[in-house]
Symmetry: C4
């Protein structure tokens, strides 16, 4: 807490509410506990003080993030108060999505394992059951080769690539990144985390169902209506995941 308090005196720094920092810590821990991220991956939230800023951990494993690790960034991906803390190479995933999507208030980037196969094959990810209705809008595939050429380490390591990813995402909730992972967005941390967790669940179930035979997917209308219903129920899984992820933690 000392580190955050020490920032409060700085001129020009619109310090985010501590509850938002705490919620972002919980989101990091949940995503690890639910198997969406491992040592890699990151989650951010738009500042509640100004839409031109967002919060993101310093470069570290999400499962170990504490309040003192949360940094504030502007929409160019610059840290406002980096001090000696390393930043994620791919912070531009977040900055460019916030820049292009005013409705988005939280972004999850992960290599969640069941989703990766859908990014490297021709099978579209589609909603198998109502909880994943948000996938009814489809999941765009980002082919970094189209923007970075062949000489790439696959990372979204600058604003131009971040902007290309944001354009691919368009107004969808999820984008798959070929040979890399995926990104899920939401109008709150809870919605983005919910979508990241259940994109992984849907991918696993869809792969399982495909080996049984042709799949009777949700229709577009079923998916849209189910998604609207689920958005009112986000607290239910969040409370469970938070309890499970934070047990034994002092954070």
């Amino acid at each position: 807490m000392l580190s955050r308090r020490s920032k409060e005196g700085r001129p020009g720094a619109a310090t985010p509410a501590s509850h938002l920092v705490d919620e972002l810590v919980v989101a990091n821990r949940i995503l690890f506990d639910q198997g969406v991220v491992d040592g890699f991956g990151h989650v951010s939230v738009r500042s509640d003080r100004t839409p031109q800023r967002f919060l993101l951990s310093r470069s570290m494993a999400p499962g170990l993030v504490g309040a003192g690790d949360i940094m504030e960034f502007d929409l160019e991906g610059n840290a406002l108060d980096a001090r000696d803390r390393a930043v994620y190479l791919e912070r531009f995933i977040h900055s460019e999505i916030y820049k292009s999507r005013a409705d988005v208030r939280a972004v999850v980037h992960s290599h969640s394992p069941s989703v990766i196969p859908f990014g490297v094959t021709d099978v579209p990810l589609r909603p198998l059951f109502h909880i994943c209705g948000f996938l009814g809008a489809g999941a765009a595939i980002f082919e970094i080769r189209d923007f970075a050429g062949s000489a790439t380490d696959m990372l979204v390591r600058d604003a131009a690539l971040g902007a290309a990813l944001a354009r691919t995402l368009g107004d969808k909730p999820v984008a798959l990144m070929r040979g890399h992972g995926s990104v899920a967005v939401g109008d709150s941390l809870r919605q983005a985390v919910f979508r990241a967790v259940y994109t992984e669940v849907n991918a696993r179930l869809q792969a399982d169902a495909m080996r049984l035979g042709p799949i009777n997917f949700l229709t577009a209308e079923e998916a849209a209506r189910a998604a609207a219903t689920n958005d009112a129920l986000l607290a239910r899984p969040w409370d469970l995941w938070r309890r499970k992820a934070m047990t034994g933690s002092e954070a």
Copy 2:
């Protein structure tokens, strides 16, 4: 315990025995610990005071349910003493099955992951080994589109849909719900929980066996006889599951 005691004075409320409340809490925790439910899903038990009532948690993740969260409902799905507690949208799954099936004393609704693929493909779920003999009676598939039309969020959110699900279930122990999940019933909490857990196990094993080749399923007679034997052994897994699920819990 205070909350339950405070109810005892109310006129007209046939308060269920506290042991039944406690057993329902254990059932909630077991279903979460065994991976049958996650943040969603619910389990109910018919009242031991009157067959026209049943017990069900307030709207929350089953893994967090405690005795103070258990509410009593009538067979129209009305909470008798809701106070400020939210109720599950899909309580009509329970009320309508209790209404149509006098033999049923407990109902589990879940999105257990291995079962969902069998609800969205044409592969019948059939018993692969003796523990799942109860599946010899077959598992009906509930297609909500047939009853709610195309404008549905997939939820069994009123009595009419609950009644349609109950008719689809008929006298079977399990019904699959297309694009949603499944329901398992029993003549006791232990039997319904046993069936919910082992429906998930059978679905996973059947999918695994299908990729090896044609499956030698239990015959109808083998299934029926095995189910009868297993019904006398329900305490064995229940004791294990309870111990595992309640360890470290004060509930």
Copy 3:
């Protein structure tokens, strides 16, 4: 401990050494912790006092077994000192194998999940890697229908069925039971537990490898030589499994 001490005074009862009782408790806990048994399944060891007796838990989930639950049986499946303790319906699996196989000193019966599909399809279980060399001798399939007819609950519930299973097992280390589970035997508890755990591992790997393409299995000679080597290394996994299974246990 009182219960065991109280038996010592009984005339005619050759009380097994307490270290063997303790090792059988550990075997029960390991098999649960390693996912070989769940609420069902059982493990026995031949008495170190007389080859005409064996030790087996009372009827309960293996994961909860303590020293006070261990009972002694003769080779007809009769409990020597049952008191009020229920016995496993399928104790004849153990008694008949001990009767027919003088070399066997321990028997595991389980429904381990990856093995069941190999018992209900035509795919022979074969050793994929050296740790499972013991499978080079092949795994017999026991079709209970051939012995009990069509009116069966699938259980080996009498001496005749136990004897049929023992004949099917022959001199092999493992037999698959169609629509039921499997049995693994060994010349010690450690060897039988090792074989039960790694039969499950081999089944999972073989199913996984089959979907890649034709499998280059161990030759009979490789399997036999590997098995001989592994038999000298049983303490290594046992020590790990025991530590993991008994942590936090007072048993």
Copy 4:
């Protein structure tokens, strides 16, 4: 600690720094916690005092290894101070790779489960996502039959077989061992452990993606560039894995 201190006085023994011993203990625990090794498998590190020596545990399950179990070996596979400690039969995997590969400072040998199927079928293991870019160099397959003939227990139990494995490995990061397991090497413990963990992850994802359809793998250039980037990020997963593996441990 006493055991290590007692060695310091011995003439001719270049005692490795205690931090390297501690790091090797952590590597053992991580590999177990991450599911790369079970009761079998081992990890070594080249001495920081002399490149002609390496550190390896006595023969035991990696998940139980403590500082007092770490032994020093020369490049012929001889223990310098064995006392009464048993040595791994396959220490020649390590000694011969260190002999032939001056760049290698750590070696992991495991039977990690998703990798084994790729060693017994014709499907080449290839990098599916950027984290596994190191696999762009390909993974050699070691067929022990070509060197030991048909009379083998599959173990690399002498220097000649170790040398054959080292030749098969060549300058690659990973070799698959048919019917046995695999070996991953690195220029540090962290890199070798990273490669062992993510070889397992890639194998599982590749098998999953294959059942969806043809896979769009990383190109050689993408793989090489991604691997270079990842090599600068090894501390991130290591810190997570260490925390997770060592929690509750006094080692």
